[in-house]
Amino acid sequence: MATRLLLLAVAGSVGALCRYGLSGVVQRAVVAQFPYGTLVVNVVASFLAGLLFGLFESRWPLSTEARIIVMVGFLGAFSTFSSVMLETANLARDGQWLSVAGNLLLQNSLGMVAVFAGFAAAHLLQGGAA
């Protein structure tokens, strides 16, 4: 149990650092009052979730513990729901309703598309086997 918690903490740290780095690079590159950094992070995280879930199912039959460490530890820290809500609320507070709708729509729709893209990528990596 202690080992699992330690590995979860390490995976979470790596995920948090990855999120911090990627969202910073994206947000500074676009110079906009729209949270593109968080959007990109969540879309990438959704893609990785689909990809890894697909691969864990067949190609990499990892233990439940390893899956939890990667999916909960790394991806849990890498992706962020609270930031989406906070940034959307900040946009709403300033009356930027188009950005509010756009953020909620893009986060959900692109996130879902990315998960299915991850499934498809996992399928391709497995040589197209059903």
Partner: protein, 137 residues
């Protein structure tokens, strides 16, 4: 405008203050200097927030007054946007320290502020003082 001493209980020292006389109130000659220091919330001076260190330094040198204004968005020489609205770039938000006093005292304080800052902006402009009161009538 005249300059007078006020006792300060906490330090026991005297504060040289800008005080308007009756004759000054409708005169354009009631001039002072407004020092503005633009820094970031994350900037430090001896492990203390820089804006706080500037205010304390101003008080130590008995300047007439200082005000810290927190900004919610801005960018500086690096052209890097900081905004409270987006979490990832909400660090190092802009802070402006405003200090008003006579030209001599502002000029004397400038090298001190300059020595405390590794980045930021300092401006000085002439202002008309219309009131400077401490609440005791």
């Amino acid at each position: 405008m005249s300059v007078q001493d006020e006792s300060v209980g906490a330090t026991g020292g005297g504060v040289q203050s800008l005080v308007l006389t009756a004759d000054d109130r409708d005169l354009d000659t009631v001039e002072a200097q407004l020092l503005r220091v633009f820094v970031g919330t994350d900037q430090k001076y001896h492990r203390k927030p820089l804006y706080e260190a500037i205010v304390l330094a101003a008080r130590e040198r008995h300047l007439a007054g200082a005000t810290v204004l927190h900004g919610s968005m801005g960018y500086g020489a690096a052209s890097r946007i900081h905004t409270a609205k987006i979490l990832r770039v909400s660090e190092d938000l802009p802070v402006v320290v405003e200090i008003v006093d006579t030209a001599n005292k502002i000029d004397a304080f400038l090298p001190i502020v300059d020595g405390m800052m590794d980045k930021g902006l300092i401006t000085v402009e002439t202002v008309r003082v219309l009131a400077y009161r401490h609440g005791v009538r």
